[in-house]
């Protein structure tokens, strides 16, 4: 086409339309700024909506149904063996994603946020070039970098679409139900997708380099999951390394090194879930003053401003907990700062949820971190075998724990393993953010019978007397 390069101007340009990017764009638009988002995807949502949180939770819900139906047999109800229709599963996943993606497009339009499909590269501290798009250049007053992260490859391999060595993206495409699936990495991605595939019928082997599933999470919280997964996965190899992966027509030959009897095994498919790295390549950061830290994350201050005054960065690309809700908050803060508000990221409890069965959720200080830092704390635990509600659901595999500052009696951290901890953890978040004392949590009435009672009772144990558990005898 013979036409001049189209230069557009924008007050706020957001690069990347995941939860960090679209939250930033929406907040900026709500504050009266003129906003455009550039992303290679047509509709907003990012990894979270298309290749992460949403599809995985869609499948995990079904895995839970299968599991519950199976469990009901011991309670007097027997369902037949589930029939699995992979096309039906994929269709359902696509419907879920479509509904949410269209919702985000609608929200963008109604806010006047311009969605530009294309790949943006900085040319300088105030312009980007857009590839594969009608718009060739955008000059901006402020940019928000929200390009997220990508799965880390197995050394020497690249993920190929349709290949037997998959990243989480490939696994969520649900190509088939492999007879044997190997999962590299005992982090939440490996555990969640392993749970999905196991419930669909795969025999799952999980390999973890360290001596613990979910490294970094308190061991007592992981223990109930570890016990449960022993019956769900075929093998869990800790302290084990995958030395080589050789893909061929019929499967992948794997060499393991560590605590394994058979070091050479063959799997139909392999899921590599060993972490994610920030997506800072092909963005043209070299043409700006943006700097990266030693781990490759963009350096930002507490207002999410990079080392380039005009450019902000939010979400996975700046590191910390690589979670959608953290990105969302950061996006809002960046937008507010650009609009002249004195906002800053001063969050004290970022919640994390692992959607395994049982689920694990935590927020604030972990016990391990507190011990490492020699902080004077008291830890109280309430095992779910004492919970009435957990008993009614046949789900006694759970634990609620609270980490309390010994001096101020303030709640510093909460960790919960068990059913539906995704909903329970927010009480802990609110408590920590509000500076609540353990006493505050104990004195709030928790409805009976619910799993939330476990939080109230844990706090009661700290005070010296809890209703459904006999603890240390304090007279308070």
């Amino acid at each position: 086409m013979v036409m001049g390069e189209l230069m557009q101007e924008s007050e706020v340009l957001v690069i990347g339309s995941g939860p960090g990017g679209y939250a930033a764009a929406f907040r900026a638009a709500d504050l009266g700024l003129d906003v455009a988002i550039v992303d290679t995807a047509r509709r907003p949502g990012g990894v979270c909506l298309y290749k992460g949180c949403i599809p995985s939770k869609t499948f995990l819900y079904l895995a839970e149904l299968i599991h519950d139906a199976d469990k009901a047999e011991s309670m007097g109800i027997t369902f037949g063996k589930p029939k699995i229709d992979l096309n039906g599963l994929r269709r359902w996943k696509a419907q879920v994603i479509d509904k949410m993606a269209d919702g985000l497009v609608n929200l963008s339009n109604r806010r006047g946020v311009q969605l530009i499909k294309g790949r943006a590269e900085f040319e300088s501290s105030d312009t980007v070039r857009i590839y594969e798009s009608d718009v060739s250049h955008i000059k901006f007053r402020h940019a928000i970098l929200a390009t997220g992260s990508r799965p880390i490859n197995f050394p020497g391999k690249i993920f190929e679409a349709g290949g037997r060595i998959m990243s989480s993206t490939g696994a969520l495409a649900l190509p088939d139900i492999p007879e044997r699936l190997l999962i590299l990495g005992g982090g939440y991605v490996g555990l969640e997708l392993g749970t999905v595939y196991a419930s669909l019928g795969s025999r799952v082997t999980l390999v973890e380099l360290t001596d613990q599933l979910l490294p970094g999470v308190d061991r007592d919280l992981v223990l109930p999951l570890r016990k449960k997964l022993k019956n769900v996965f075929e093998n869990i190899f800790l302290n084990t390394k995958v030395v080589s992966l050789d893909e061929h027509d019929k499967g992948v030959d794997v060499t393991l090194e560590g605590d394994v009897e058979a070091p050479h095994q063959t799997f139909e498919r392999v899921l590599v879930a060993i972490g994610r790295r920030p997506a800072t390549e092909e963005v043209g950061l070299g043409n700006t003053k943006v700097k990266l830290n030693d781990n490759g994350f963009v350096i930002v201050d507490e207002q999410l401003r990079t080392t380039d005054d005009k450019i902000f960065a939010v979400g996975d690309v700046v590191g910390g907990m690589m979670l959608a809700h953290k990105a969302t908050r950061e996006g809002k803060i960046a937008a507010e700062v650009i609009a002249g508000k004195p906002s800053a990221f001063d969050v004290r409890a970022i919640p994390a949820v692992v959607y395994t069965d049982p689920q694990i959720a935590w927020c604030g200080l972990t016990e391990a971190q507190a011990r490492r830092e020699n902080r004077p704390i008291e830890v109280q635990r309430f095992p779910w075998k004492f919970s009435g509600r957990a008993t009614t659901m046949g789900a006694p595999e759970g634990l609620t724990k609270i980490i309390i500052d010994l001096e101020t009696q303030r709640i510093l951290g909460v960790g919960i393993t068990g059913r539906d901890t995704e909903g329970l953890i927010s009480e802990g978040v609110l408590a920590i953010e509000m500076g609540a004392l353990a006493e505050d949590m104990a004195l709030c009435i928790h409805p009976h019978p619910t799993l939330s009672e476990t939080e109230g009772e844990t706090a009661e144990i700290f005070l010296g007397t809890a209703t459904h558990i006999l603890g240390k005898s304090k007279t308070n």
Binding site: G186, G187, P342, F345, A349, I350, G364, L365, Q369, G435
Partner: protein, 429 residues
Amino acid sequence: MTRSFKLPDLGEGVHEGEILAVLVSVGQKVKEGDIILEVETDKAAVEIPSPYTGTVNEIFVQTGDIVKVGKAIMTFSNGEKAEQPPAEKIVEKPETPVDEAKVVDQTLPTREGGPVPASPATRRLARELGVNLHLVAPSGPAGLVTADDVRAFADDEKSVPKTTESPPAAAEEIKPSDISVPSLPDFTKWGEVERIPFRSIRRATGKQMAVAWSQIPHVNSQDVVDVTKLEAFRQKHKAEIEAGGGKLTVTVFALKAVATALKMYPNFNATLDTANNDIIIKHYYNIGVAVNTDRGLIVPVVRDVDRKSIKELAVELSDLVDRTRNRKTTLEEMQGGTFTITNAGAMGGGFFAPIINHPEVAILGIGQARMQPVVREKGADDYEIVPRLIMPIVLCIDHRVLDGADAIKFLKVLVETLEDPDELLMSMV
């Protein structure tokens, strides 16, 4: 058992103090009552005794720190075992970079110097009002800072006397915040600079003077006193007073003269209550005396001046000045003044116009007495020039409460009493 010691309440209206000295060190044994800290507040230097007998475990402050009331300063152990949670051995693996399951650094409440307990909405409010949460005195349980605390701090920062009710239009105050101060240029452009913290007494003085100067319409009225006779009187009785432990200075006479004048003109012994449109007249005569110290200007108060003899005042004042210079005065001794005298004479000053010590309504400045030629009437149309010891005095008044005519009358009393010691003695009756 470990016990934490927090900076105690140092007196009314005192929210923070500067640590002048930490007199103990970690591991040191202390007895209850031993002095462990010297803290300087806006108003006085205070020695803080240990509330416990035991061993110092941790010290969280150092000399020069500005510490809020209620902030933990140190911990003590009393020999009993500290209540420790059961030690669980948790072996941590080496960190692997960019592991998605890794709990990466969260922003967490840390004990000292860490986040201040406050709800997210309070934290946002603090940012909006530009308040540093670390400086706010908490009122919530276990040191929780509330939104009200933040608002109160922000109001306080504006240095405006708080009014409980909305003031009637008649007494509208000009808030310093109404006038925006332009930001400072980068002075390093023109040469080397140094930054010295604006703290403690210097800062308190600055705040007090800014309030006084912006709130009070000042008028100053000057006169001179022939103190030749007074000086003779002073020389004559100096030794006798000194034997009694006092110092017979011009300020001592001035105290007495001012008390006399205040009794005759009670409107000078007053405060303007702008919130309620009242002039508060005080029926006690507590006179502040500005004392120059190596830390700055401090104004201890001599109480009930009208009821004390010259000799008593001489003893009391010299003790008060000594203790002020040695940081030994208590907060109470800095409070409750009704009028202030500032005598620059000893340092050689002449005429100067001091700023009224808000919320008082007048201040007397005294300059150095010098021998000067004075024209005197010998008889009808017959004049002579004689050397006399002449002392300049300046009276500054709050023109909202007092007028120039009042000032002249007040000065006249001072001049008459100070010129003639007999008059002064008579007025004391």
